[in-house]
């Protein structure tokens, strides 16, 4: 089964060049049933990544471009009066899909942002008093521009917390960029991508990820990491229990992708920057800016028991 994941990884790697780690993290996030936040400057392949992931997994895909005048109805859908049978008919919004790419989520107003984030948490939306389930699996990939760019509404901590992981794509290295420049148009490549997984495969993989064994020794390590952030003066606030759970889920998914039946500390370390980077705030000036560095530092500081 997990060979299929390798196939997905290989296929996406063929589109996004030189970003295997980020692709694997994105997949792990999906396997752990979490949502993904990609934070980077425009043009490094955020959309392409989301698109190729959806295609390779055989999932339906919608993209919502967030703008400052976006309204919740633009995301969720709207009921329109139908003259013929004199009823209101619901026209589902772009959110009713398996993979949603919420592009530049921090350009929208908090109101629109929260519409998306409610849906992420509940896996359902309530419009006109009627609750509608979202398709399963439901996976949000949100991208955001670094908060120092103009015209952004930074996501508050409580909403950042909804994302299992936050990753950065970064510039490609010289070889990968060269390849990119020589090669085909990415959009053409995307159209050629076929699904590597069948319908229930993903659900089964997600279930399998939950079954990966976690030993007491590993829980010790996870708790040591969490406690370190709570005790040390370097962090403005410690990691929440939800963050600890997220860490554990992501590590399980990662272990599955590494074809292990149990989680080892390396799995935790692999997902650590992605999982805790956006949940930590430094006591030093600047706050969240260097969340990734802080996660790296945290990893080096906590000994493995």
């Amino acid at each position: 089964m997990s060979e299929r994941i390798d196939k997905v990884v290989a296929q996406v790697c063929g589109v996004i060049l030189g970003k295997e780690l980020q692709i694997r993290l994105a997949l792990a996030c999906l396997l752990a049933r979490g949502h993904l936040l990609i934070e980077d400057i425009p043009g490094v392949g955020k959309t392409t990544l989301a698109h190729s992931l959806a295609a390779s997994l055989g999932l339906s895909f919608q993209r919502i471009q967030f703008t400052s005048d976006l309204l919740p109805a633009d995301i969720l859908g709207v009921s329109i009066y139908n003259r013929e049978n004199a009823t209101f008919q619901f026209h589902p919004g772009p959110i009713f899909t398996q993979v949603v790419l919420a592009d530049e989520v921090n350009r929208a107003t908090p109101k629109a942002q929260s519409a998306l984030l409610e849906a992420m948490e509940e896996h359902q939306v309530t419009i006109d008093g009627e609750t509608r389930r979202l398709p399963a699996p439901f996976f949000v990939i949100a991208t955001q521009n670094p908060s120092y760019q103009v015209g952004t509404f930074p996501l508050p901590e409580s909403q950042l917390d909804r994302f299992l992981m936050r990753i950065r794509l970064g510039y490609p290295n010289v070889e990968a960029e060269r390849e990119l420049l020589k090669g085909q148009d990415r959009r053409d490549l995307l159209e050629q991508l076929g699904a590597c997984l069948r319908g229930e495969d993903l659900a089964e993989l997600q279930h399998e990820a939950q079954q990966v064994h976690v030993s007491p020794a590993l829980l010790d390590y996870v708790q040591a990491v969490v406690n370190h952030t709570r005790a040390s003066a370097e962090y403005a606030n410690g990691l929440s229990p939800r963050a600890a759970l997220a860490l554990l889920h992501a590590a399980r998914a990662w272990a599955l992708m590494e074809k292990r039946k149990h989680v080892v500390p390396e799995d935790v370390q692999a997902v650590l920057p992605g999982v805790v980077g956006h949940r930590l705030m430094s006591t030093a000036e600047g706050g969240r800016v260097n969340g990734f560095d802080m996660a790296e530092q945290l990893m080096k500081q906590v000994p493995i028991p």
Partner: protein, 646 residues
Amino acid sequence: MRERLDLRDTVWLTASVFLVAAPHVERLPSWVSLLAGMLIVWRLYLARSKRELPHRALLVVIVAGVTAGVYLQYATLFGRDAGVALIVVMLALKLLEMRTVRDATLLIFLAYFLVITNFLYSQTLPTALYMLACVWFITAGMIGINFSRAPRSVGPQLRTSGVLLLQATPLMLVLFVLFPRVEGPLWGMPTDAQRGSTGLSDTMAPGSLSQLTLSDAVAFRVAFKSPVPELRRLYWRGPVLWDYDGRTWRAPRARYARPSYNTEFYPVDYTVTVEPHGKVWLFALDLPGRLPPRALATTDFQLVSAEPVTTRVRYEMTSFLDYTYGINESEDVLQRNLALPEGYNPRTLALASRLKRQHGSDQAVMQAAFAMFGSQGFTYTLAPPRLGENSVDEFLFDTRSGFCEHYSSAFVVLMRAAGIPARVVTGYLGGETNPIGDYVIVRQADAHAWAEVWLRGRGWVRADPTAAVSPARVEQGIGATGAASALPLFMHDNPVLRRMRLTWDSVANTWNQWVLGYTAERQRTLLSRVGLDDATWRTLAGLLLAATGLIVLVLALVTLRRLRVRVHDPVSRAYLAFCAKLARRGLARDAAEGPLTYADRVTKVRPDLGTAVGDFVALYVALRYGDEPGEDNVGRLRRLARDFQP
């Protein structure tokens, strides 16, 4: 660490400065105290109203003014007094440019230094306790400014400070015992040390002793090894006065000898601790049987120190209370002890010749004189009437009231006039027994003067005319005499106060004996007792370093033990043993390095170990992180760890 100081830090540090500088106020010129106080208040005002600190130029002007003022006051900028005055003002000024944590740290160390300067003036127990409290407070302030985050509260700050000081206690003891001692006053300023000390002098005029009697200052303390003799036998011998000019008695130029006398009877062993008095005398009971270190004895049994007693001196002494000496006194000495100034005291001379005629023998004349003092209305008083030119005449025939100096002086004149060699001996009589510390306190108030008379065949004999006038003075001490009401309050206070006073004196005495009395000599004695004879300062420095190192090591081990994690799990232990073996080959595992990562790294460096490391780590990971535990596998892992040979 924060960069800026807040109001709380500022107030704390200002209070610290105030506390350490406060004891100096009584010694500083008032303008210095006033200026320092004003600067402190100014700083507090600025901190409270959140105003800017004064401009640097203003501070420079103040510094220049203060330096000039101190120079005018003391004619120097160096030395103890001028130095302390400068430091106190500078510290207060430093408060006015205290902005950052760095400034505060500097200020704290200056405050520590000011703590030390207090000991240049006073080394008493209260000073030490007060300074200890100051150090505690300052240290707590230092902890306060180093706290990175609020909330800070006084309790934990003081507690941490206390713990730090407690941890420093062993170090303090080692430094105290082993630090090379300086002989003499610490700062080599004998003029300072002598100031204000009182005591007997080598002259005696009417009024000089009664003046001394008003002082409750301790002259010396005595701890007896033998049973304490009766109060009336405690004649502490001081300067012996031979020469009389009609008003003042003077000691002769000292002639040193190793005096001898015939006795082995009634020896008394004791230790004397003399308070500094600035003169050369050391005191012992009549008659001393040995010499204190670095001291000589004169032919008339005065003990004379080689240098003025400017610090507390402690010595062992043996005295023989029953003695005979001077039977074969030289004719020179006897003649000198018969000399009287011509033209003074004609009535006394007449009385003397009458007594001589009536009674004949020297012994009988002496008895008659005693009888006269005891019967003819003589009174003992601390406030005698003033006497004119013929002081002895006026005293014996007119006023008939006086103090021991009048009686001894009149008695000796009378004896000399009757042809009996006699001289005045000054010293102390009696003392107060302190039952709490089991020692005797002799105060300036116990100062006394008596006489010595030379009798043919018996040598020099003590004769105390005061005993004839006021037996209570000799039997029960000066507090029991009728003169008591003129004495300072402490001499006739109530039992509760008396007990408190004695307890305090006992504590102070212990402090003096064990802390201040720990001189170079006692250090040598102590070290030779543990087998270190002739310890040079090099030996001491070596010992000091070794002991300090040992203490720091012990403290470090105790602290580390708390950090060490005890591993009970056999799997973890096997893994740690495995890692330790690799660490010895230079491949130490990073604490945050996972087992698989570590194995990869090791294999990259040492491909030859690849299989062994791979097998071991795979098994370890399976056992520790997998869900198939097995006792067999644990055993196997332990064997692998044991047999692993990198």
